[in-house]
């Protein structure tokens, strides 16, 4: 495995609980500075992957590196975690402490110098919009406020890598918008963000690259352009349609409507030429990019 410009790298990372396969051979590489979306339905193995990367859980087999540090090298991995912020899916903080005190504990655990902690705590409280309630006990917080606190904990100390596991699950639309803005700001600062989510729109709006995971396996990964490149063209055609059109892609015909899926953009003129040559009259040609949702559902084996 190589590192250097890589924030996260895994090779055949697997986790089994008895007979249950939580993660089946995850291989991926996330460059520094990327906002990476780890997308999948509930129970796909997203949280398992994050826990393995953070050393909260041990892999059954495979390898992984976090900021260049192998999971097998406990000391190096621990040092790497100094530069990692994490918001767990199950975000829970000491209810008997105030938000500021929770952040103080994490500043101590992260090894932040004593003099730097108070301004840094004030900064992250401001970023997540909790400055006014920082002196309240966490037990009195709403779920959404607790998730904002979790986000503040993850941002504390300006980490190089921020891992967010379903960061907006308890947030209202305003909160979701705020989180997207925070992620964009992190990207602008060059921070790598690993975003676990089952919310397609969230991922679509902020991520550079995505991996789609299902039943513990990555079934597709790449940039949106790469993932959604398998394109579709909608046509309105009258007259005879030749039989050998399926060489262009999968066909779907209803009346004068013809949909060809999986056709590369540059082959559309050939398709039209073939139709015209066969005596068909082409009234409309409309290339359409598949939406992430369609692609997601088709990859998971559901009809879009």
């Amino acid at each position: 495995m190589t590192s250097g410009d890589t924030a996260i790298e895994t090779a055949d990372l697997a986790k089994r609980y008895g007979g249950l396969v939580a993660l089946a051979g995850l291989s991926m590489r996330i460059p520094h500075g990327d906002v990476f979306g780890f997308l999948g339905p509930n129970g796909a193995g997203k949280t398992t992957a994050v826990k393995l990367l953070l050393g909260l859980s041990r892999p059954t087999s495979g390898e992984a590196r976090l900021l260049g540090a192998s999971l097998d090298d406990a000391r190096a991995h621990r040092e790497a975690r100094r530069r990692v912020g994490y918001l767990p899916e199950l975000f829970r903080y000491q209810g008997w402490l105030t938000a500021r005190e929770v952040l103080g504990v994490h500043a101590d655990l992260a090894g932040l110098p004593r003099s730097e902690a108070p301004p840094e705590i004030a900064r992250v409280l401001g970023v997540v919009g909790l400055a006014a309630r920082a002196g309240d006990r966490v037990a009195n917080y709403s779920k959404g406020m607790q998730q904002r606190l979790g986000l503040a904990v993850a941002l504390l100390g300006r980490p190089a890598l921020v891992m967010l596991d379903e960061p907006t699950s308890a947030l209202d639309p305003v909160g979701r918008h705020d989180v997207r803005e925070i992620i964009r700001a992190l990207k602008a600062e060059g921070v790598t963000v690993f975003l676990n989510s089952h919310l397609l729109s969230e991922v679509e709006q902020v991520c550079d690259r995505v991996a789609i995971v299902d039943r513990g396996r990555v079934i597709a990964q790449g940039t949106f352009e790469e993932l959604l490149a398998g394109d579709t063209v909608h046509l309105r055609v009258t007259g005879g349609v030749p039989d050998d059109l399926d060489r262009f892609g999968t066909l779907d015909r209803e009346g004068d409507r013809l949909v060809v899926r999986g056709i590369a953009r540059e082959r559309i003129p050939d398709l039209v030429a073939a139709l015209v040559a066969a005596g068909a009259r082409v009234h409309e040609v409309r290339p359409a990019q598949e939406s992430l949702e369609d692609r997601f559902l088709s990859l998971l084996g559901h009809d879009a």
């Binding site: 859980s57 040092e79 975690r81 008997w96 994490h106 992260a110 904990v153």
Partner: protein
């Protein structure tokens, strides 16, 4: 600050912020006030209309103090179990441990920090409750046990042993399960001490062996016996000795201090259990 100390400070802060400590301190003060009143009545006792003598006042006070300390040692033991048994499992179950353990701290620092924080609390309670009781008794009837320092150490050691056991169980079991197991073992160790005493009184090697085995497996009763020895004035020791070897079965009588080798064993036991707790939690999925 080292990560273990950060965790220890958090434990102390949690216990102080919760109502547990307040309730325990309030009840302990009530108990001390009530016992003070009880001790103050001893000099007013009479036999056939004649007030009892100073020697008798001291003897009754000494025995009563052993019983009061038995109550405190039990409160300490139960409290140690109740706060230690969920100390780690509670954080894992609630999810608090996920955010904490993703930080650059070794699992060992987390376990040792928890243990250290709890140990400080147990020490504070043992010393405060016992010391105040001793001072109050001394003020009321003018009696002081022969070895107060040893008493404090034995009381603390008994609590420490139980909290170490509770911490170990907490690395794998939920608070309730670990707490119940620790309490049952604590009760069995107490009974084992009595059984072993009966065995030695009747020179039955098997029964005596059971007592020795329980002392080695969980040293709580033997440490309590150390506290009894520290509390016992010469008059009570002589009185107990009159019962012959059978007195060894009496959990409120202890003619001699636990041997130094046994105290070393108690230290090794505690260190071993703590090491086992670290090893166990190091392999736990969070």
């Amino acid at each position: 600050m080292s990560p273990a100390l950060v965790v220890a400070r958090l434990v102390v802060r949690e216990v102080l912020r919760r109502r547990l400590v307040l309730a325990l301190l309030a009840l302990t003060l009530v108990a001390i006030v009530l016992t003070a009143w009880g001790f103050s009545r001893i000099p007013t006792l009479t036999t056939r209309g004649v007030p009892i003598g100073d020697v008798q006042v001291k003897a009754i006070s000494a025995f009563l103090l052993i019983l009061v300390m038995f109550m405190f040692s039990n409160v300490l033991a139960l409290s140690a179990v109740f706060i230690a048994a969920p100390s780690i499992s509670g954080d894992v179950e609630s999810g608090i441990a996920q955010a904490v353990l993703s930080r650059p701290l070794p699992r060992a620092a987390f376990v040792i920090g928890k243990w250290l924080g709890l140990a400080l609390l147990v020490a504070a309670y043992a010393v405060l409750a016992a010391l105040i009781e001793l001072l109050v008794v001394n003020a009321v009837v003018g009696y002081a046990p022969p070895r107060p320092l040893e008493l404090l150490l034995f009381l603390f050691a008994e609590g420490l042993v139980l909290l170490t056991l509770g911490t170990l169980l907490s690395t794998r079991l939920s608070g309730m399960v670990g707490g119940v197991i620790a309490l049952v073992l604590f009760g069995m160790a107490w009974l084992g001490g009595i059984v072993g005493g009966i065995g030695s009184a009747f020179e039955n090697d098997v029964v005596e062996g059971v007592g020795i085995a329980t002392k080695l497996v969980l040293p709580t009763d033997a440490l309590w016996r150390g506290a009894v020895w520290a509390l016992q004035p010469e008059a009570l020791r002589a009185g107990g000795a009159a019962f012959g070897p059978a007195a060894a079965a009496n959990p409120f009588y202890q003619p001699s201090a636990p041997p130094a080798a046994y105290l070393v064993w108690c230290g090794l036991w505690t260190a071993g259990m703590l090491a086992l707790a670290v090893w166990s939690f190091d392999r736990r999925e969070v």
